[in-house]
């Protein structure tokens, strides 16, 4: 069942020093020539910048309630109007970017670390360790991540931290499989044999000579998966299992806007639009990186 999934990443290949041009330059040139990739990069960079600068850009405290300004229309003081609790919508959206993007980034970092560790262990040790770890990976991949994450948060209890724990527990399997594949395919390379013969210790070999080959596929997968992670975390918050009110998080803001969506559709319009733009940005970026890093694709 796993082999039916469309492979989102290029085949990992060991470095080959045949071309005249340094590979990094070739990758960069191919990336810069891709209009979609540039658009993705600009989108992501803009949103990250907005998130970082939120305290300076936001006109108000995101949780401050302004008396008598309930569901106020846009004005000079409240550029996008206010929400049902008289809070400035723009400020909440800006601070929401911090939480939504920050939680996704944190989850991704932990997921990649676990995935690399498990994958390298499985590929390097082989035998029983490999079999057991890969059965765990198969099991996790047999599930749709969202439902498993839902059940895990359900057991742990609602909250953004628990939601992050849940997506981490569910999300590392893909990375482990890729890293294991890279380790297995590079293990027999002559330069690894040379390193072994020179007496380099196994952890150093894996870290310095094997894992760099996995860097491309990992970066591609991570940027493609970040879009999916944003959607999952926002979805969990939307059904009340992630960030809790009054936290300004895009998914939670959508949930809070539900009851007013006929009278004040903007409460749902803006957070949804930002989620869409963020996911779009990461998807375009991931596609662009994949095309640029895949040596089999023609220029």
């Amino acid at each position: 069942m796993i082999d039916t999934a469309p492979a989102p990443t290029p085949q990992a290949r060991p470095h080959s020093g045949q071309s005249e041009q340094p590979p990094q330059q070739r990758v960069l040139r191919r990336f810069l020539r891709n209009r979609g990739a540039i658009m993705g990069l600009v989108l992501v960079a803009t949103l990250v910048l907005l998130a970082l600068l939120a305290p300076w850009l936001a006109p108000h405290n995101p949780n401050q309630q302004h008396r008598g300004q309930r569901l106020a229309p846009p004005s000079a003081e409240f550029p996008l109007g206010t929400d049902n609790l008289s809070r400035d919508l723009l400020s909440r959206l800006l601070y929401g970017a911090r939480l939504s993007l920050g939680a996704t980034l944190l989850a991704t970092v932990v997921i990649v670390l676990i995935g690399v560790l498990v994958g390298a262990l499985a590929g390097y040790m082989g035998g029983l360790v490999d079999s057991v770890l890969m059965r765990i990976v198969d099991t996790l991949l047999a599930f749709p991540g969202l439902l498993l994450a839902l059940a895990i948060v359900g057991m742990l209890g609602p909250g953004l931290t628990n939601a992050i724990i849940a997506v981490v527990l569910v999300g590392w399997a893909d990375y482990a499989r890729i890293v294991r594949g890279v380790v297995l395919s590079t293990r027999e390379q002559p330069y690894i044999e040379a390193a072994v013969a020179l007496g380099v210790r196994p952890p150093a070999i894996v870290l310095r000579h094997v894992l760099p080959n996995a860097l491309g596929p990992i970066i591609v997968l991570a940027s493609l998966e970040m879009g999916a992670l944003i959607l999952t975390l926002a979805g969990l918050s939307f059904i009340g299992l992630g960030a809790q009110p009054p936290t300004a998080e895009w998914g939670a803001m959508l949930d809070q806007g539900r009851a007013f969506f006929q009278r004040a559709p903007q409460l749902m319009l803006y957070p949804g639009l930002l989620i869409t733009l963020a996911v779009l940005g990461f998807n375009l970026l991931g596609d662009g990186l994949r095309d640029a890093l895949d040596p089999t694709r023609g220029e």
């Binding site: 069942m1 039916t4 059965r135 439902l147 948060v153 998807n283």
Partner: protein, 322 residues
């Protein structure tokens, strides 16, 4: 094809089927282990809740609770508890829901059909949309229509489905008043949730159909068909599309799984009484047996759906011998 060739094809198929069934065993084992381990994530002591459910009152003192734990074997080591639980599961006993007291298996099977209906409807919508989009895009790659279709698929994949649902409600139910907002009853109630699910599904599916068709259109036999003077429409529909479909079928299982998962969230928006409502209620009530059963049940469903799709693939592509 000779008589013996036909027979050997059939026995190949049976062999393959048996091998796939055998390969399922470790995955099913893993899913059961996962469901069991997940239940251990719950904070606090489930014995109190269980006592409450069985006797309708809190245990009088710590001693009563401790005796209760002993009786139920809750103090036994985890592997022993897992085996005992698995023994019950093998006989269809997933325990009783804390909330309703009903058997978990009954709760799950009686709530599954509405969710399956939504997912199937979503699948139908996405296939119906993805085909024309994918085929028309492939006819003129990078043409005007292809660019529009690409934009559609990029947006469809990036939009949160639960947000799209509200946009559709706002348009079709509130502004235009064509369709009911939520609930279950007539076929009209199915339209918005299925459209929500189907639009997101069509986004990825249409690009896949496009690239698969483009690949096939570059092959020799298609050139032969064109060289014979066949009209382009006929070449695509009669010759290319059939082969282009094969890779598409392999992802349908994944798409269906994704739709089923999506349906769980979409249900809450449209007040659709299915698995999504069941699991969210269970989470709100800390109904651990039900959450555990949900993991086991959905895991089983996904594994079986993927098996079915794999077999279907073998049946429709006679070239594959394994």
């Amino acid at each position: 094809m000779t008589q013996s060739a036909v027979r050997s094809t059939q026995s190949d198929m049976t062999n393959y089927f048996l091998r796939r069934l055998l390969a399922l065993i470790p995955v099913l084992f893993g899913i059961s282990l996962l469901a069991f381990v997940i239940s251990m994530l719950a904070p606090g002591d489930p014995a109190g809740a269980l006592y409450q459910q069985l006797y309708g009152e809190q245990p009088r003192d710590a001693e009563t609770l401790e005796r209760f734990r002993q009786e139920l074997g809750l103090n036994d080591p985890a592997p022993l508890r897992y085996l005992r639980w698995l023994g019950g599961v093998a006989q269809g006993n997933l325990g009783a829901s804390f909330r309703s007291g009903q058997p978990v298996l009954h709760e799950l099977t009686s709530n599954a059909p509405p969710t399956l209906l939504l997912a199937l409807g979503g699948l139908a919508v996405s296939v119906a949309l993805a085909f024309p989009l994918g085929v028309l895009s492939a006819l003129r790659p990078n043409g005007g229509f292809d660019l529009l279709a690409r934009l559609f698929s990029l947006l469809g994949a990036a939009m949160p489905s639960f947000w799209l649902a509200y946009l559709l409600i706002l348009l079709f139910a509130v502004r235009l008043r064509w369709l009911p907002v939520a609930g279950l009853g007539t076929w009209q109630h199915l339209v918005l949730p299925c459209l929500t699910l189907g639009l997101a599904g069509a986004a990825t599916l249409s690009r896949l159909i496009r690239s698969s068709l483009l690949e096939v259109l570059g092959q020799d036999y298609v050139r032969t068909a064109r060289a014979k003077g066949l009209r382009e429409g006929l070449v695509v529909l009669r010759h290319a599309l059939r082969n282009a479909l094969l890779p598409v079928v392999t992802v349908l299982g994944n798409r269906f799984a994704a739709l089923l998962a999506g349906a769980v969230i979409i249900e809450t928006i449209f007040a659709w009484p299915g698995l999504g409502k069941l699991i969210l209620d269970a989470i709100a009530f800390r109904d651990y047996p039900l959450i555990q059963g949900f993991v086991l049940f959905t895991g089983l469903v996904f594994v079986l759906v993927n098996l079915a799709v794999d077999l279907l693939y073998r049946v429709i592509d006679p070239r594959i011998r394994l």
